[in-house]
């Protein structure tokens, strides 16, 4: 029994990390689950890449499970469902097999889908350049380049390229499309069009979570989240800068 409960708690924590939860939430959830099944002396620690959890009963052998977390698939809807599940587990203490079935169901939850996300990227490009005061041409350029970026990101993610490379490529792509559009006189403010499209690449969740990690004194995770955010941001800057230098050399 001890083993299955521990495995379930670790799987739950792994899924939370995978969806983009902050460290404190992961550790607290796992601790609460273990405690609600009667393992009062448990010790849990998590970082962005691994989870270690140990439970022990009175006069019993301690039991430890570790798990390496690879990759990330941020999905705040799944995060919310997991949160609701852990709340339910702590209140009603269902059988582990029942809880596991619900966890599997949450795992099957899909994201918004490529089409919806492409439309959303386009909408971000459009509305952000609108709020910066862009012309119709700027808005359309941002819309188009953001939408194309989402589709390219889909293929880059499929190839499992790293985060840094992915942001360089997608930022460079946006810079190329915008430069072409302004070269042919389609958009009047290339800076506004480019900012509108680039904002879709901003590492929002990494930044938010690293702030929350620092706040709950998880400095290690805070630093790793911050370096992810900085690396992504530098990737964007490098991608655009390369295109700018190339443009400067060509014209």
């Amino acid at each position: 029994m001890k083993g299955t409960t521990l495995s379930f708690a670790v799987d739950m924590g792994a899924e939370l990390l995978y969806c983009g939860a902050e460290i404190r939430r992961v550790e607290e959830t796992m601790e609460l689950i273990l405690k609600s099944y009667g393992y009062d002396s448990c010790s849990v620690s998590a970082t962005h890449v691994n989870i270690v959890a140990t439970v022990s009963e009175k006069d019993g052998e301690p039991l430890t499970k570790t798990m390496r977390i690879k990759g990330k698939d941020t999905n705040l809807h799944r995060l919310e469902l997991l949160n609701a599940l852990s709340r339910k587990i702590c209140e009603t203490k269902p059988d582990i097999s029942v809880a596991r079935k619900e966890l599997e169901n949450i795992r099957k939850e899909k994201g918004s889908g490529l089409l919806a996300e492409t439309i959303a990227f386009a909408a971000v490009g459009l509305s952000y350049s609108l709020s910066l005061g862009g012309s119709i041409g700027d808005m359309l350029t941002a819309l188009l380049s953001a939408a194309i970026t989402r589709i390219i990101l889909f293929f880059l993610e499929k190839q499992r390229f790293n985060n840094f490379f992915t942001s360089i490529i997608s930022a460079a792509l946006i810079a190329v499309i915008t430069s072409l559009s302004s070269f042919f006189g389609f958009c009047s403010h290339s800076d506004i069009a480019m900012t509108g499209a680039l904002i879709t690449l901003v590492p929002g969740i990494a930044l938010t979570n690293c702030m929350r990690d620092f706040m709950s004194e998880d400095y290690l995770s805070g630093i790793s989240g911050l370096s992810e955010a900085i690396l992504t941001a530098s990737g964007i800057a490098i991608g655009v800068a390369v295109v700018f230098f190339a443009k400067g050399a060509l014209i």
């Binding site: 918004s112 990227f121 509305s127 709020s131 910066l132 969740i205 938010t208």
Partner: protein
Amino acid sequence: MNILLDFVSVALSSLAFAVIFGIKGKNLIFSCLAGVVSHGAFILAEYFVPQPETVAYLFAAAVMTVYCEIFARVNKTPVTVYLVTGLIPLVPGKLIYDTMLYFTTNNSALFFENLLRSFGIAAAVALGVVGVSTLFRIRKRV
């Protein structure tokens, strides 16, 4: 008309970001409103305290975090769900873009000026979020 268009565009971009992060159901509306709240607070603060600009960002981030923390408790949702979209209107996209532009054109004076401004704003936003969230955590413990 201009201010209306401004709010519509912020609401649309927040909603679109919520879709990108995979948020579904009624939380789409709440996280979209988080963006609107932060932009509204920013405009208000900028009107009353135009200088230094970090004050407006700090105020907007604090107000937005209060909104997020309250509705996260009401809806029993992780606060990250609302915070992430609420932060987007406070990202100084144009400023960061200019910083990069001055870097590529070797204009070091303007580059450093813009870089410092960006860091100042980022620090103000972080302080606003962290400060308010910490206060909410104290209440929870008592």
